[in-house]
C-alpha cells in the first residue's frame, strides 16, 4: 500500500481536500467539464466571474494564440447573478465540492458589496473571489496610469475592507500582474481582511496580424495567459509569499503537474489551472493526482512540507 499523503489545505474558512482548483473563466460553470473529469477530484471549483447584471462581453474575435500562450478579451460575458444563482451554482454544488464564486463590478464598489451580500446568504458558495484585476474591462482612471482596482493599493484596501464588512464568507482577492510592486497590493488586501490571495490574472497584451495589418483581438488589447507567463506568475507568488501570511492560490500557465508544483514550492497553498483546461479538459484532476504521486515518490507526507521545502538559502 502506498504511504498516505495529506493534501488538505485551508483557505480562509474553507477546507480543500487537495490544493487544486481552476482559474476563473477557464472552466465555465463546471458543467462543460463534467464529462471529462470527476469534479469531486478537485479541491474546489472556481466559477467564471459574475456581475450583478448580465453582460454581453466584448467584440469578437476574443481569443488568439501567441507563443506558448493566448490572448483573451472576453470582457466578462456572464448571465448575471440571478441566473447564476438559479441555474449554475446549484449544479456545481451538487458535486459536494467547495465553490469559489468570482465576482466583479462594472462600476463602483457598491456592486461588489451587493454581490457579496447576495452570496453571503447562499449556502452553496464556499468563498467569494474578488476579481479586481480583469484587464479586459477598463474602469475610469484610478490614479497615475492605473485602470484596475488591483493596480492601486489604496483602492484595493478600500474595496476589500468594504466587502469584508458585508460578508463572513471566505474572501479571496485576485491580483493583477500589471503592477510595479505586487507585494504592496497583496499587503493592502491582507490588511483589509482578505482571507487569501489568488494570483495572477492575465498580463495585458496585444498581437497584430501583419498580413491584414489588424489587431488579432476585436478589443485590440487582451489578457495574456498560458505557459508563457508562468515564470512571471511563479516569481510574483514567491515574492508575495515571503511577505504576507494569508494563503495564496497560485496560477498562471500551469499545464502539467510540475508547473503546479513550481507554484507550491514558491509558496502557494493551492493552485488554479486556467488555460491548461483548454489544452486538456481533464488536466485539473490529473494534476490533483499528479501532486499526490510526486509526494509519494519523494516521501513527502504533508503538502505543507512541499511549500516550505524550496532548497534555497535566503
Amino acid at each position: 500500500m502506498p504511504p498516505a499523503v495529506k493534501t488538505e489545505v485551508k483557505i480562509g474558512r474553507m477546507i480543500l481536500r487537495n490544493p487544486v482548483t481552476v482559474a476563473s473563466g477557464t472552466f465555465g460553470y463546471a458543467s462543460e467539464f463534467a464529462g471529462f473529469l470527476d469534479l469531486r477530484e478537485l479541491g474546489a471549483v472556481t466559477t467564471k466571474t459574475i456581475t450583478l447584471k448580465p453582460r454581453r462581453g466584448n467584440l469578437p474575435p476574443r481569443t488568439c494564440e501567441t507563443p506558448a500562450g493566448m490572448l483573451n478579451s472576453v470582457g466578462l460575458e456572464n448571465p448575471g447573478i440571478d441566473v447564476f444563482l438559479r441555474d449554475k451554482l446549484p449544479y456545481i454544488a451538487g458535486y459536494k465540492v467547495p465553490v469559489i464564486v468570482s465576482i466583479a463590478s462594472e462600476s463602483d464598489n457598491r456592486e461588489f458589496i451587493e454581490l457579496a451580500k447576495r452570496l453571503d446568504a447562499c449556502f452553496d458558495a464556499a468563498a467569494i473571489e474578488l476579481n479586481i484585476s480583469c484587464p479586459n474591462v477598463r474602469h475610469k482612471k484610478l490614479g497615475t496610469g492605473a485602470y484596475l482596482i488591483a493596480q492601486d493599493a489604496r483602492a484595493t484596501y478600500r474595496l476589500v475592507k468594504a466587502v469584508r464588512a458585508a460578508t463572513k464568507k471566505t474572501i479571496i482577492t485576485k491580483l493583477s500582474p500589471n503592477v510595479t510592486d505586487i507585494v504592496s497590493i497583496a499587503a493592502a488586501a491582507e490588511e483589509a481582511g482578505s482571507d487569501a490571495l489568488s494570483m495572477i490574472n492575465t498580463i495585458a497584451g496585444m498581437s497584430i496580424d501583419v498580413g491584414s495589418r489588424r489587431p488579432r483581438i476585436g478589443a485590440v488589447l487582451g489578457g495574456l495567459s498560458g505557459p508563457a507567463i508562468r515564470p512571471v506568475a511563479v516569481r510574483m507568488v514567491w515574492e508575495t509569499s515571503k511577505r504576507v501570511r494569508i494563503p495564496i492560490i497560485g496560477m498562471g500557465g500551469i499545464s502539467d503537474t510540475s508547473g503546479a508544483l513550481e507554484f507550491i514550492m514558491a509558496g502557494a497553498s493551492a493552485v488554479g489551472v486556467g488555460t491548461g483546461n483548454f489544452l486538456q479538459p481533464s488536466l485539473s484532476a490529473g494534476i490533483a493526482r499528479g501532486i499526490k504521486e510526486y509526494m509519494r515518490e519523494h516521501s513527502i507526507g504533508n503538502i505543507k512540507m512541499l511549500r516550505e521545502g524550496l532548497k534555497y538559502a535566503c
Binding site: E32, F33, G35, K48, T63, P227, N277
Partner: protein, 273 residues
C-alpha cells in the same frame, strides 16, 4: 451529447493534392456518438507550440464496431503542418465529438450542399448519412474553389450518389465564379429541386454570407457551419462568439463551438461579422 478526451492511433494520413490531407483513425466511442456537422479539437503538437488544439470537422465516419473517423484538412499554419507530419501508428490526442451538428432534413426532402474550399469537410459526412438513410431524396452538391487544383472530394461525392456541380473562381473547371453564383443559377432553374429544398453550406465567411443572401432571395431555408477562433471548443471560454439575431430580432452573442458550429443561414448577423 457525450464527448470524449482520447488518445487515438492514426490509421492513415496522406496528401490528396497540394496542401490537402486526409487523416483517419479508429475510435468506437467517438464514431458512435458523432453526427454530421460536429468537429474534434485536435492536439497537433507534442510540446507547447502551437499551444491550442485545432478544431477540425469530422469528414467521414463509420459507426459500429469499426468506428473509423476521417479528417480532411488543409495545411495552413504550424498546427496543420505538424499534423501533416504524423504517420500511421502515431498517437493523436482528440476531444470530441463537439458542437451541435446539422439538423437533418425531413423525409424525402431534397438538399443542396454548398461547399467552399475546405467546406467540403463536414458536408461529406452529412452526405454519407443522407445517402445511408435510404429516404428517397436528391442530394445536390455544389463545390467551389479558387482553381481546379483546389477542388477536393468531387469524385467521392459522386460515388456516394450525389449529383455534383463545380465552380472555380478562375474558371479552370466548371462554372467560372463563386459558388454562391453557382447556387443562384442552380436555384434559378425550375425543376432542379423539389419545391423547397434545404441548403447546407460550409466555407469561408464571405461565401456563407453570399449563400445566405441567395437563399433569402429564393426563399430557401438552410444551415451553415461557421468557423471562429476557438480556445476550448467546449463552450467554456466564451471566446468563439458571433453576433446572431434571435427570433425577436434581438442581437446576442452565441458560441460557435457549443451553440454551433451550425446555425440557421439567416441567424448570424452577417453585417456585423
Amino acid at each position: 451529447m457525450k464527448a470524449f478526451e482520447k488518445r487515438v492511433k492514426i490509421l492513415s494520413n496522406h496528401s490528396l493534392k497540394k496542401n490537402y490531407f486526409l487523416l483517419s483513425f479508429k475510435d468506437r466511442d467517438i464514431a458512435g456518438a458523432a453526427v454530421p456537422g460536429q468537429f474534434l479539437m485536435v492536439k497537433t503538437a507534442r510540446g507547447l507550440y502551437p499551444l491550442l488544439r485545432r478544431p477540425l470537422s469530422i469528414h467521414s465516419c463509420s459507426g459500429g464496431k469499426d468506428g473509423r473517423i476521417g479528417i480532411l484538412y488543409e495545411v495552413k499554419g504550424p498546427g496543420s503542418e505538424l499534423l501533416s507530419f504524423c504517420r500511421p501508428k502515431d498517437c493523436l490526442e482528440v476531444v470530441g465529438p463537439l458542437g451541435n451538428g446539422f439538423p437533418l432534413p425531413g423525409h424525402g426532402r431534397d438538399v443542396v450542399l454548398v461547399a467552399g474550399g475546405m467546406g467540403a469537410a463536414p458536408l461529406f459526412f452529412l452526405a454519407e448519412r443522407l445517402t445511408a438513410d435510404n429516404k428517397k431524396r436528391r442530394i445536390h452538391v455544389l463545390i467551389g474553389a479558387c482553381g481546379k487544383e483546389h477542388l477536393c472530394r468531387v469524385k467521392e461525392f459522386s460515388a456516394a450518389g450525389c449529383s455534383v456541380l463545380v465552380s472555380t473562381d478562375d474558371g479552370s473547371r466548371g462554372r467560372q465564379g463563386y459558388v454562391s453564383g453557382l447556387l443562384e443559377s442552380f436555384l434559378d432553374k425550375p425543376g432542379n429541386v423539389s419545391v423547397t429544398p434545404l441548403i447546407y453550406a460550409c466555407g469561408p465567411r464571405p461565401m456563407l454570407q453570399a449563400v445566405a443572401f441567395v437563399a433569402a432571395k429564393y426563399g430557401v431555408p438552410g444551415y451553415c457551419s461557421l468557423e471562429a477562433h476557438m480556445a476550448c471548443g467546449i463552450g467554456a471560454c466564451m471566446g468563439c462568439v458571433i453576433p446572431v439575431r434571435d427570433q425577436g430580432g434581438r442581437e446576442e452573442y452565441k458560441r460557435v463551438c457549443n451553440d454551433g458550429p451550425v446555425f440557421g443561414l439567416q441567424e448570424p448577423d452577417w453585417g456585423k461579422m
